[in-house]
Every structure is written in structure tokens, then in C-alpha cells.
């Protein structure tokens, strides 16, 4: 990396930390530390909601998905706008009027302390573990691409977040999110421009889109109804709807964002910002991936995008086999490039039949190049002794470090680092809130001064930060196990949504019903996940929510809610 890029990375991260730390003087009470005295404008909260969800792995992984599969991943978000409307009508006014700090606090008022404690504990457990993924996944990618030490990279992501979140509280988290979102949108547009300039002079943007279209990469709809396929219109609309309802409505890391808004309406508006902008933003991320494919259609890509694995196979027993594959890939690339040129020439002509033939020829060449790459990926899998292997997360970072102009490299690296930093900052802030409000203040020290609770809150943030750093450094050595940890967290989402649905939709639901329903829901999701692993995880949310609601309603009929004491 050039000195200018290094300067940009160091300066930007230093600015974020300094700006976050200087907000320390605003924090006098736990309400200001955790909820900014419910005083933030809707647009800042809305950007914070979007930034928390947009992690570093979105920037490196989703662009890679755009490269290999095109736009189909966007279907994952089709249920989001409807989820935001449902939440604006239901949970947002409930939480806001109840003046709660955590979503789980509401469950004690509606049900009982044990339901609150269990859901809060599940949040702490799943979110505590997810810290490892948020930091470790991009740390591994950056360390491989830039040759950095993986432990130091994980710490470079984690430590700034811990410092500014611990000292500046939710104000620091929110205003950092605003800056990071601004930077992210800028670098995404800049990437499209740079990728477009990397195309040959005879290939315009529209020609390029036609090339991508012939391979199906611009298709954003798959109307097949299948439980096995993760990204279809129906899994996005139904499974995605339940996931988004649970994530934005019942996960403290998101709920806390809109509890900082000035009013119910501003809280609603902040959520609706995602409803308007999330799908276009995600389309932009995927388009960057599609344009990476177009760039590497005309510019020679490496056979493997992960340089460490490339060196490992090259230096191992399969070196001869790998060299032959590389030669084959070079020829396949040349043939594909010529086919793309021929397609563009045919597209500029008037002969529709010739254009169709050229498109068919390009598809064949693309399939050949893809087949060679698949064999290379299988070779790495064999060398590493892993059951699955992909280098999709390394595609766009490879473009950044080898083809981006100086200055933009630094901005992109800082965008990836801070996307992880701001996501983990929101997690730390919400983990500390749940710890202090749902456990420390509720069960251990119900009466104390505001200064005491503020001190404890900062200590809790710091301790969660140390835990996050430790587990992220450890997780960065786990390889593909990281994904298993992440998937484990998704076991709880649908079930927790089911508890909130019981609380709001069923007047007869009791605490014991909700508690038993929650355990039954998690059991059902685990049974589906292990018994029918071919069913996509998006459907787990529907299963979890439905089982909690049905079991909770049945148990509540037998064990009704005891009358509240006057």
C-alpha cells in the first residue's frame, strides 16, 4: 500500500476515535450514555440503522457474490420494506411509549421476569458470539490481501471501536455511523467509475451491461418455490420478512438505534429510511461485483483470488497440476475475452441472429473459464483438507489492491475497516445496555446513583470490548468455522420474534406460555437445522416464530397469566 493510502487509513480512523472520545462530556446519565436522551434526528438514526447492518463482510463478500452470481442475492432483502412498515405500526410505538432501554424490558411488563431474562440472555449469547464474525472475517481477508498480521488487523478493527464506544456511548456510535455511511456510498460510486474506466475503449457501459445480462448476472428474480434455495423471491419475501422483523424489531443492537430518536414519528422515519434505501444500496454493492466480473472479462484475473492459498498450492505436491490449470485458465480467459469482443461487435451491428449467436458463444466461453476455476478451487479444497472452499471474499479486495488508483485504495481499506468497526461498536453499546439494564440494575443493584450506573455502563462496555477483541483474535484462526458460529446465532431470531408476536397479538398469552414457547421454538429450529440441513436458513425464522406462537398460545390456555399486583 502506498504512503498516501496509509496516511488516509490512519488519519480517518484517528478522526473517528477523536470525534467519538470528545463526546464523553455529553454523557452524564445512563439515559444519555445509552439513548442520547432520546434526542437524535431521524436521518442520523436512520443512517446508523443502515450502517449497523452494513458490515465489512457486506463490502467484500457481497461484491464477490455479485461477481460470481450477479444480482440474485438482492432477493434476500425483498421482505425488508414490508417488515419496516409492520414494525412502525407495532413494536416501535410500543417500545417508545413504554420508555424502555431494552426491547426485553418490555417483555417483563407484559409477561414476567424470567421471559425477559431468557430473551436478553439469548441476545447476549448470540450477539457476543457474532462479534467474532464481524471482526474476524474482514481481518482474515485484509491480512491475506495486504500481507498484514491477522491478530494486529483484528485489533486494529476492534480497539478503536472499544475506545470510542466506551467513552462516547451511543452518541459516538451514531455519529460515527453517519460518517461511515457517507464514506461507504462515496467509495461504492467511485468503484463503479473506476471499473467502467477499466473496460476497453470500444466497450461502453451499456455494452458491458449486455455482456453481464447474457450470463444471467443482471437477473434479480427467481420465482421458483423451493425450500432448499436460499435466494429466491419467496424466501426473500417470507423468510426474509420474518428475519427482518426479528432483527429490526427484537434485536437490541437495532432497537437501541431508534430508541435514541426524538419522537415516535422520528423513530418510525429512521426505520423507513432503510425501507426506501436498503434495496437500492444493496443493488449498488452487487453492481460493483457485476462490474468486477466485466473488468476481469477484459483484464486477466488470477486463477485464485486468495494469494495465500495460491502460493500454498503452487508450492505443494499439486504444483504441476496447478500449473497446467493455470495455463488452461489463461487460454480460457483469452477465448472468453475474444468472445466478449465479438459479442460487442455483433451488438453494434444490425443482425439480430448474429448477436444471439455471439451471446451463445460468450456463454460457452464463460462456462469453460468457470469450469477451470472450479477445478482449481477443488484442488485447494483437497490440499487444505476442507469440505467446502470458496475465494469469493477475496475477489473485490484483489481488485482494490491491484487496480484501484492511489488514494481510493486507502479510502476503500478504511471503508472496510470502519464498516466492521461501526458494526461492532453498535454491538458493544447494546450488549452493555442489556447487561446493565436487564441484569445488573434489575437483579443485582436495583438502587444506586446515576454516577454509579454510568460508571458500571462504561466498565460493561469495556469488558464486552475486551471479550470481543479476544474472541475475534481467536476466531480469525478458525477458518470456515466462523460461519458455523454465525449460523448458530440465527437459531434464535425467529423464536424471539415469536415471543414478541405473542406479547402484542395475543391478550391471553402468559409468561409461562411465552417461556415454554420460546424453548419449543428454538428446539424446532435446531431439529430442522440438523434434521433437514438442505432447508435454507431463511425458513428457520418462519419455523421458530410459528412454533413459539402456537406452543405459547396452547400453554397459555392451560397456565394463564396471574393478575398483576396493584
Amino acid at each position: 500500500m502506498h504512503l498516501i493510502d496509509w496516511t488516509i487509513v490512519v488519519a480517518y480512523i484517528s478522526w473517528l476515535v477523536w470525534d467519538g472520545v470528545k463526546r464523553t462530556k455529553l454523557e452524564r446519565t445512563t439515559e444519555s450514555y445509552f439513548l442520547a436522551n432520546r434526542s437524535l434526528p431521524w436521518w442520523a438514526v436512520g443512517l446508523s440503522v443502515m450502517a449497523t447492518q452494513l458490515s465489512a463482510i457486506t463490502l467484500v463478500g457481497t461484491t464477490g457474490q455479485g461477481y460470481s452470481d450477479g444480482m440474485r442475492f438482492i432477493q434476500f432483502y425483498y421482505g425488508l420494506p414490508l417488515a419496516m412498515i409492520i414494525l412502525s405500526l407495532t413494536l416501535v410505538p410500543f417500545f417508545y411509549r413504554a420508555r424502555v432501554y431494552t426491547a426485553y424490558e418490555y417483555l417483563e411488563r407484559r409477561f414476567d421476569p424470567k421471559t425477559r431474562a431468557l430473551t436478553s440472555l439469548l441476545f447476549l449469547f448470540s450477539r457476543g458470539l457474532s462479534c467474532s464474525v464481524i471482526v474476524a472475517a474482514p481481518a482474515v481477508v485484509l491480512s491475506v490481501i495486504l500481507g498484514w498480521n491477522v491478530t494486529l488487523t483484528a485489533l486494529a478493527i476492534c480497539v478503536p471501536a472499544v475506545v470510542y464506544t466506551m467513552l462516547g456511548g451511543v452518541q459516538a456510535v451514531t455519529w460515527t455511523d453517519v460518517k461511515v455511511m457517507g464514506l461507504t456510498i462515496f467509495v461504492l460510486f467511485a468503484a463503479v467509475v473506476v471499473l467502467g474506466q477499466g473496460l476497453p475503449p470500444n466497450v461502453g457501459m451499456i455494452d458491458a451491461l449486455h455482456i453481464a445480462g447474457t450470463t444471467g448476472r443482471l437477473s434479480a428474480f427467481d420465482f421458483r418455490f423451493t425450500l432448499e434455495e436460499t435466494y429466491t423471491f419467496w424466501s426473500g419475501m417470507l423468510g426474509g420478512l420474518f428475519l427482518m422483523l426479528s432483527y429490526f424489531g427484537c434485536d437490541q443492537s437495532q432497537v437501541q438505534r431508534y430508541l435514541t430518536a426524538r419522537s415516535v414519528d422520528e423513530a418510525r422515519s429512521s426505520l423507513l429510511m432503510s425501507a426506501y434505501w436498503k434495496i437500492p444500496l444493496q443493488a449498488l454493492v452487487l453492481i460493483v461485483g457485476v462490474f468486477s466480473f466485466l473488468f476481469y472479462t477484459f483484464n486477466q484475473p488470477p486463477l485464485l483470488f486468495n494469494p495465500v492459498d495460491d502460493a500454498r498450492v503452487r508450492g505443494g505436491q499439486q504444483a504441476t497440476q496447478y500449473a497446467a490449470l493455470e495455463k488452461e485458465f489463461d487460454s480460457a480467459f483469452e477465448a472468453r475475452r475474444r468472445a466478449a469482443d465479438a459479442f460487442v461487435a455483433a451488438h453494434h451491428g444490425d443482425d439480430a441472429a448474429a448477436e444471439r449467436q455471439a451471446a451463445e458463444a460468450f456463454r460457452r466461453r464463460e462456462a469453460e473459464a468457470k469450469a477451470v476455476r472450479s477445478r482449481a478451487l477443488a484442488l485447494v479444497k483437497q490440499v487444505k483438507g476442507e469440505t467446502s472452499y470458496t475465494d469469493v471474499n477475496y475477489i473485490f479486495p484483489t481488485f482494490i489492491t491491484t487496480a484501484m488508483p492511489i488514494g481510493l485504495v486507502g479510502l476503500w481499506i478504511v471503508a472496510i475497516i470502519t464498516a466492521a468497526t461501526d458494526s461492532i461498536a453498535a454491538e458493544l453499546n447494546s450488549l452493555a445496555t442489556a447487561t446493565v439494564i436487564d441484569f445488573y440494575k434489575r437483579h443485582y443493584r436495583p438502587v444506586a446513583s446515576e454516577e454509579h450506573y454510568l460508571r458500571v455502563s462504561k466498565v460493561a462496555t469495556g469488558l464486552w470490548g475486551v471479550f470481543a477483541c479476544w474472541i475475534a483474535v481467536y476466531a480469525s484462526t478458525l477458518g470456515s468455522l466462523i460461519e458455523v458460529v454465525n449460523r448458530f446465532g440465527s437459531f434464535f431470531y425467529g423464536s424471539i420474534l415469536g415471543v414478541f408476536a405473542l406479547a402484542i397479538l395475543s391478550r391471553r398469552a402468559s409468561g409461562t406460555g411465552a417461556f415454554v414457547g420460546l424453548i419449543a421454538g428454538m428446539g424446532a429450529v435446531a431439529a430442522v437445522a440438523f434434521g433437514r440441513p438442505e432447508i435454507s436458513f431463511l425458513w428457520h425464522n418462519v419455523v421458530g416464530a410459528a412454533v413459539v406462537f402456537v406452543v405459547g398460545s396452547i400453554v397459555s390456555a392451560f397456565v394463564p397469566q396471574p393478575p398483576k399486583e396493584a
Binding site: 438482492i74 414490508l82 437477473s219 434479480a220 423507513l272
Partner: protein
């Protein structure tokens, strides 16, 4: 500072969210069909 009681009807906003989503999805569908027609 506005309070929790400052609520206005947001029915039109919700309808506009759904209409804009429908337009965005329609645009994505049209782009996929147009460029992927060969």
C-alpha cells in the same frame, strides 16, 4: 424537544414505501429482462 405524544398519521408514507418498493422491483425486473434477453 418533541415527545412520544407527537404522532401524526403515516398511512400515506407507508403507501409510498410500498409503491417505491414496487417501482424498484419493477425496474430491477425490467433491467434483468432487457439485458438478459439474448
Amino acid at each position: 424537544m418533541a415527545g412520544a405524544g407527537d404522532e401524526r398519521p403515516m398511512g400515506r408514507t407507508y403507501v409510498s414505501v410500498l409503491m417505491i418498493e414496487a417501482l424498484v422491483l419493477l425496474a430491477l425486473f425490467a433491467v434483468g429482462r432487457y439485458f438478459g434477453s439474448l
